[in-house]
Symmetry: C2
Subunit: 344 residues, 2 copies
């Protein structure tokens, strides 16, 4: 039973190898790596340093974490990495992690509950110090798993029912009012709120606020619909019908998020409907290409980066033992008006 090795698996030097190569004990090597200080004689330090370089030794974080119980790792679970919104938030979290000397591990759940559960489980079992979660939904199935893993956690954008946890998100009421008021001010008379069927609080809050606001202007028409984002046909029909229904009025649509805005714009393009002319178009989430699409698309920009930073900051506080009551951190959005909602 000599040092037989698998074809691909290289031999990893251990602390023991280094110790014997440096003709010393494991303790000194460990000290060299951590405490270091001045507890070692120069001669020993020299020998150990050479041995490490020679063997290309890398301490095993596995073993190290097992011993210490600390990983300095943060998990970020994202529902849809395809969404630029999420990516921007991630960048904020990442920058903040670096600041704190933490390392970020990102997991994409692809909007699937199974995956969310899997990653939650995984990160927990690897004993990350904390998790930032952009939850898939607020259905019950996820909740149990989330509660089960009782480690510091912060939610982003989407809340989870019956789960007490800090949440970082947009001030949806304020934002939706801004957007609705903007459309009304620009002279639109019939408004359509388009959303996906997902049962997330973000969608519900925006929709509710929209409807409430519209009730204050009974002379205007408020409609809403839910469509599967991938069902292009349904989307097209919906737009066509909305326009036909209000042929004599100035119409506008409001999309609940950026991904949807993209699909709606595409559908309009296919149908030959021109935003800013035939119809008003606006949506939540800023889009990098918003100004390039025809006369430009009006968006509601979220301070995504700052939100990411705030999420990590709150998480770190929890990790450090902060036990204040659960907080709901709401950020203000910014309306960026473009040609798609220009007044007549």
């Amino acid at each position: 039973m000599s040092k037989k090795q698998e074809p691909g698996a290289a031999v990893r030097a251990t602390i023991r190898d280094v110790a014997s190569a440096a003709k010393t004990g494991k303790t000194s090597v460990s000290r060299y790596l951590n405490g270091e200080k001045d507890l070692l004689s120069d001669a020993l330090k020299e020998r150990i340093g050479r041995a490490i370089a020679l063997l290309d030794y890398q301490p095993s974080q596995m073993a190290r974490s097992l011993k210490s119980g600390q990983t300095r790792l943060i998990g970020l679970i994202i529902a849809d990495i395809t969404n630029p919104y999420s990516v921007e938030v991630m960048r904020g979290v990442e920058a903040a992690c670096r600041q704190e000397g933490l390392t970020l591990l990102v997991c994409n759940t692809n909007n699937e509950l199974d995956q969310e559960k899997h990653y939650l489980q995984l990160l927990s079992s690897y004993r990350v110090d904390g998790i930032v979660v952009n939850a898939v939904g607020m259905r019950e199935a996820a909740i149990s798993t989330l509660q089960q893993a009782n480690l510091p956690m912060v939610l982003i954008d989407r809340k989870v029912a019956n789960f007490a946890c800090d949440v970082i998100g947009l001030n949806n009421v304020e934002a939706t009012q801004m957007m609705t008021d903007h459309l009304l001010q620009q002279g639109f008379e019939a408004l359509l709120f388009i959303s996906e069927p997902a049962t997330i609080n973000t969608r519900l809050e925006r929709l509710r606020t929209f409807l409430q606001r519209m009730q204050q202007s009974p002379q205007h028409i408020a409609e809403q619909c839910e469509i599967e984002i991938s069902n292009t046909e349904a989307l097209e029909n919906m737009l066509r019908e909305f326009i036909a229904r209000h042929s004599d009025k100035r119409k506008a649509v409001m999309c609940v998020n950026g991904t949807l805005t993209l699909q709606v714009a595409r559908a309009m393009r296919r149908l030959g409907i021109v935003w800013g002319q035939d119809i008003g178009l606006s949506g939540f989430d800023e889009l990098a290409w918003a100004e390039l699409a025809g006369v430009g698309i009006t968006t509601l920009k979220q301070p995504t980066y700052e939100m990411g930073v705030a999420a990590l900051s709150q998480l770190v506080a929890r990790i450090q033992g902060n036990t204040d009551p659960v907080k709901d951190l709401e950020f203000s959005g910014e309306l960026i008006a473009r040609g798609s909602t220009a007044a007549r």
Copy 2:
């Protein structure tokens, strides 16, 4: 010294706790979790199952991996998560991982060499089974680190000089020829190749092919320039001058990647230059909004998802001990012609 606990850190039950709660030994619990099979009596299985549920026990992957030396973890290092191209590749890698029962950990280096080194080190020290890398650059600094970590690795898109490693990428020669030929066929007479200064092979190959192809049509003008993506002013000047220089000719630009195409389009918009009319516009990488930007932007679409799948597939082969000579897997791109390069 009783069970004193830190404020935030919850007590995690260990296998020993479960064993004693179930009035049995650790081995049986371990068996229950792994081998399971039918080595356990029903009564014992019952007891253990209850104990696990009661204590909310979750085995520590740390300890488990330490013992087995296997993590079933794959690391993905991405240079710029902001780039939709990377995200699409990630989705392919992810799907393939799921297929193989592997778990993907994503790290974003933000195009910083330091971060790349850090993550490489980290993933290696956590003994992931393999790494898929979208390298920051091909400068020497990175190479040493890459070589140091001698664990299965596959490169995506960008090669690293002097580092023998499988690479999955686009067939840049073919793709560039397609794009160049397309522009010439559409009647453009002066072509400008715009790229970022980064020293990555992808850029160089595309540029080289472009210049070579243009040499075969001496009657046409070929120019090239490098600009910092964040330097909007330089970009605008460059465009203005190119247009002024060839006022009597049909002109077109070719952007080396999608991020750049976005910036170029923005700059044109600011300058009042209309693509498809004043100038031709095309770029590598498909863009979700390409058809929405004015008359549409011509792009060269890469089979990103498939590339991600292929990358993981090759990595798995290496992990399983495949020692074939290093491969260069090149995928064919697809030219998607849109209004921005329409013939007169």
